[in-house]
Amino acid sequence: MKSVAHHEILNVEDGEIVFREGEDTTEMFVLREGQIEIVKNVAGHEVRLALLGRGSFFGEMSLLEGLPRSATARAVGPSSLLVLRPGSLLLQIRRDPTFAFELLQQMSRRIRELNDKLVFKVATAEFGNRLARSAFMMTAAGEFASSDRKAESAAT
């Protein structure tokens, strides 16, 4: 890690882990060059949550909340990162007020994407329930009709 003009820069190679899920570190990062993938371990399988490009922020949840990392960040190709610690985040906001604006924009976008996913999940589950209910009703109606026909044929 090197420091250039009061900025802490971290250069990582392809496949290098920036931080691991569950780790107790609190830096956040701004991607200056390259790409970073955010992956999470779900029931023993690695799920890619996002692929971030230049200018993206990541790791801010641990910095703001002081909680362990919720996912793993890994470099895709050689990448360069600006490292921000709790103190330097405030300094960066003082030096560059638009940074705070962009941070909020990005977090707002993530909330909207999560909302969209949630709505889709709920709608799919609801649709699944309705489909099952309709299928049940149709089956029941079909059985009722066939029993009626049987009764009619028996009568004739």
Partner: protein, 306 residues
Amino acid sequence: VKTTVREERLLVISDVHMGNRLLQTRRPFREFVQYALDHDYSICLNGDGIDLAQMSLSRLMSDLTPSLGLFPQFGQKGATIYYTVGNHDIALEHFLTDVGQMKVVPFLNVLSGDRRIRVEHGHMYDAMFLKFPRLYFAFMMIGRFAILVGPKAYDMMHRINLAIIGTTEWILARFGAGKTEDAGEAGDALAGERECFRKGAENIGVRGFDAVLFGHTHLPGSREFEHNVKYYNTGAWFSTPYCVAIDHGRIWFGSLPELLAQDPFALPKPEPRTTIATAKLEERFSGPWATTTPAAPARLARHSRW
């Protein structure tokens, strides 16, 4: 507010100060807008486009009206007019939305080719504006009256203002009071431009920008700062206007007369347009048989039956 946009062709100017009595370059603004239209550029007025702080309403109308008629044509061409807010039009922060063909934004992150370019007026990095906003506003109001007296009075007041700022910063630095945690090496900023703008540009650039474009200081020029960040300042329209032209990630910086004389990124001339009917005819009567092949007359005769 959408602040990140992809624009392959963009012209950036700053500090037009429409409505200000000192503005002498009224006609070139219309020429600039017409030029952008003719050469398929979107445009960005990088702050202080309309001088709300020191304007005369009649001057504003006479400055703006000739160009207003051209603005809708940008929409027809699929181009956009961006307006980043500056300190002389800071009231426009209340209108951070689309106004007709114009998108009013606090700053702009331009994606062009594989480049990321920040376009911002730059007043948010002016130490004087941030630390002493009331004093700054008072100077602006005094400047308004100085303009009524005449350009020389305004110029003199502006120099006094700069001298006061310079002296204050020098005295504070002697006593260590002006030193901040991010004080860097002096000397590589634009000539006449204070250090705060260089630091501002570096702090933006370190976040993954290839170039940073400011206005505000009225001092045109370009430099390369830390982290290979290119810095451009497009000056003001009180003297020779400067401009940045962006084309698929390539950046050109120069004066407006230079730009108007020759497009630095001239598009290839479009081929002569053919109508659908002529294109069909050409398609029908082109091919080996249409020229010298022996079978041509027979095939033409077959076609003629249809």
